[in-house]
Amino acid sequence: MSALKIKKGSSKHSAYNLRPNFSDVQETHTLAVLVENEPGVLARVIGLFSGRGYNIDSLTVAEVDREGHLSRITIVTTGTPQVIEQIKAQLGRIVPVHDVHDLTVEGRSVERELALIKVSGSGDKRVEALRLADIFRAHVVDSTLESFVFQITGTPDKIDAFADLMRPLGLLEVARTGVAALSRGT
């Protein structure tokens, strides 16, 4: 055993501590995943993210083509460029996945989200909430003498900004749909 140069009693030499020499810049990408609308398909996609340790910032899913049995999953995810590439390749490997589009790199795209925001208050605060809602083009979809429910659509940033403004005015609850996204043009 004389040739061994490992420090005895040390377990630092594990392969699992290694990191590849890829860029470690974090990027946020919006992926549009077209999937066969069959039972368990969402579980497969989510299981891939949890099983391989990827992030989900936002996820929306709905059937978009009833005859073709297709659903569209829009995922916003964050990772290094190499992880983003892996995510796309791993998604493409799932049998019921038809197509994976990275809207962040495939030209320009539009991203929208819808939120319902409940605000309670009275007097000036109530008036101020309504005024701000008007600026943000949010609609009142429910009203009582003590509260409003606003419906707002826009980019996630716009919704964040509106919710932040509502906080001191009596923000009670927020429900957001997550991002839906499409590429621009044809």
Partner: protein, 584 residues
């Protein structure tokens, strides 16, 4: 053509139409209708295992030795959960397996019924794809699709979960479609522009090396043939992963031996020093690469793989070619020939001179002992006494597995069955049963350690019942050898629970099952004992008592690059070899 039949009959009918001749399985409540159909036919042979894990490993052995998908039939609940290890093993090693599980009737799903488990939920991450069939109408088409998915692209295990009421109900049988209408059609042809870049790089490379893997085996015998032709024509050296052994013959003049953590010195240093690495159907596994930031620092890397997610997963590639190994090799070879069969002869001759220097280290040398059998010696003798036979080798997992890869030579693909990715102790014995079923007249040997072998020893019943002459070649060191080795090297020689206490008398154990047992402990008796094992027509447990504290070398410690190999005590005597080696 449509015919009305029960779901249970459909299962058998679909298997027959898929060309299945053997099913490994174990009956239970939720698959009784299918077993009733199995009873009433003769086209498919059912092999009754003794544990569902054994069924899946046997199917893996069958699949890997034939290239055809292995088929498993088990019941719901525990039948399905016992299959999980085998499914994961097949997923990691890309082995095509179709597992059919029974399920409680559809109207009881979700009620915590007897022997109910969420089988598709449990097996979702350990299958390539799985299905729960809720209507008999869909059953035959789903089974056909399952075979398509298991065998196309990167092969893998699939599972079809069939509730009992679906087995009883009748519907019309749908024949196997001539061409799959599904969208799942993986790319097999590589990008011609990238293939051209690779060929151009091969023409000028000074220190090239082929690094091949299980993908060559999975691509079929034609891929191995093309690889051999390419290697011979270019004169490039070739090494292989554990999974790819046999694609290029061990007796071939360009063969460097296996690479990786316990790979050969010359193979690993060639990987470290090359200027063009041609990865054919391997995946830069962490047992291969060692330390990633020091992995083959000065080379351009080509990667041929059918799975896009393998490309750039851990190692950045200069020529990423997505496609089937056989197709890409054919195109590349054709292009290389038509461009005038150019290689950089002078530089490659120098490269071989360097490689031959490394070979002189003789990293597999060991000191035989007159008192005890060295495990390396046992395998060297097994190799000498069996290499001319039509031979299939399985292994369990651990030191013996690495020694088998080092000391046995593989001349053909599909002759080497081992658990590479998952490292499943207990794989080898049931796998050897699957291999012997597929090749009744061949010599099938499972090289095992006593600890691994005990994990699925119940399959002795299967071996004896079907008169399968599988040879269980157990290198018995009364230790969990690889665990013990790591504890010695990395954990201050604190041997926490790494010995085999209360071992059975393997000779009596064999006899209790109605098989033959042979025990050998004296090196002088080894050859005779091996011959006795080979000449016996029936299953044999060969209990070879070996040196207890032998370590497996060469070894790249985890976290070290290829040129920081440990060669062990035997070869450190060769001062020139090792000191020169460290500098390279």
């Amino acid at each position: 053509m449509t015919r009305q039949m029960t779901g249970a009959k459909m299962v058998v009918q679909a298997l027959i139409e898929q060309g299945v001749d053997t099913v490994f399985g174990y009956p239970g409540g939720a698959v009784l209708p299918i077993y009733d159909e199995v009873f009433q036919q003769n086209a498919i042979r059912h092999i009754l295992v003794r544990h569902e894990q054994g069924a899946v490993h046997a199917a893996e052995g069958y699949a890997r030795s034939t290239g055809k998908p292995g088929v498993v039939l088990v019941t719901s609940g525990p039948g399905a959960t016992n299959a999980v290890t085998g499914l994961t093993d097949a997923l990691m090693d890309s082995i095509p397996i179709v597992v059919l599980t029974g399920q409680v009737p559809t109207f009881m799903i979700g009620s915590d019924a007897f022997q109910e488990a969420d089988t598709v939920g449990i097996t979702r991450p350990c299958t390539k794809h799985n299905w729960l069939v809720k209507e008999t109408d869909r059953l035959s088409a789903t089974i056909h699709e399952a075979f398509h998915v298991a065998t196309s692209g990167r092969p893998g295990p699939v599972l079809v979960d069939i509730p009992k009421d679906v087995q009883f109900a009748s519907a019309s049988y749908q024949a196997k479609p001539k061409a799959s209408t599904r969208h799942y059609q993986p790319v097999v042809k590589g990008d011609p522009a990238l293939i051209e870049q690779l060929v151009a790089a091969m023409e000028t490379a000074e220190r090239p090396v082929f690094y091949t893997g299980g993908g060559v085996i999975n691509s079929g015998p034609a891929a191995s043939q093309l690889l051999r032709e390419f290697v011979e024509a270019t004169g490039f050296p070739i090494t292989s992963t554990l999974m790819g052994l046999g694609a290029y013959p061990a007796s071939g003049k360009n063969w460097l031996g296996m690479l990786g953590m316990h790979g050969l010195y010359e193979a690993n240093l060639a990987m470290h020093g090359c200027d063009l690495m041609i990865n054919v159907g391997a995946r830069f596994d962490d047992r291969i690469t060692g330390r990633l930031d020091a992995f083959s620092p000065n080379s351009k890397k080509a990667h041929i793989d059918i799975d896009p997610s393998s490309i750039n997963k851990v190692i950045k590639t200069d020529y990423p070619i997505i496609g089937d190994v056989g197709h890409v090799l054919e195109d590349a070879l054709h292009l290389w020939k038509s461009r005038g069969r150019k290689v950089n002869r002078e530089a490659i001759a120098k490269w071989w001179t360097q490689i031959n220097e490394w070979r002189k280290v003789d990293c597999l040398s060991f000191k035989p002992s007159p008192q005890s059998i060295k495990p390396q010696h046992a395998l060297a003798r097994l190799e000498a006494l069996t290499k001319d036979r039509d031979r299939y080798i399985c292994t369990e997992v651990g030191q013996h597995q690495m020694w088998a890869a080092q000391y046995l030579g593989f001349e053909d693909p599909n002759r080497w069955m081992t658990s590479g990715g998952l490292g499943t102790m207990g794989y080898g014995f049931p796998a050897s049963i699957g291999v012997q079923i597929a090749h009744p007249d061949a010599l099938v040997i499972n090289v095992a350690g006593e600890a691994s072998w005990l994990m699925n020893m119940q399959e002795m019943g299967t071996a004896v019942q079907y008169r399968l002459p599988v040879k269980q070649f157990i290198l018995n060191n009364e230790r969990l050898g690889m665990v013990r080795q790591w504890q010695e090297l990395l954990h201050g020689e604190r041997y926490s629970h790494s010995w085999s206490e209360a071992l059975p008398d393997f000779v009596k154990l064999a006899e209790a099952f109605g098989a033959k047992g042979i025990m050998v402990s004296d090196p002088a008796d080894l050859d005779d004992a091996i011959m006795e094992m080979l000449n016996y027509d029936g299953p044999v447990i060969f209990d070879c008592l070996v040196e207890k504290h032998e370590n497996c070398f060469p070894m790249i410690p985890s976290g070290e690059p290829h040129n920081k190999m440990l060669l062990g005590d035997a070869s450190t005597k060769d001062a020139i070899g090792t000191s020169g080696a460290v500098l390279v």
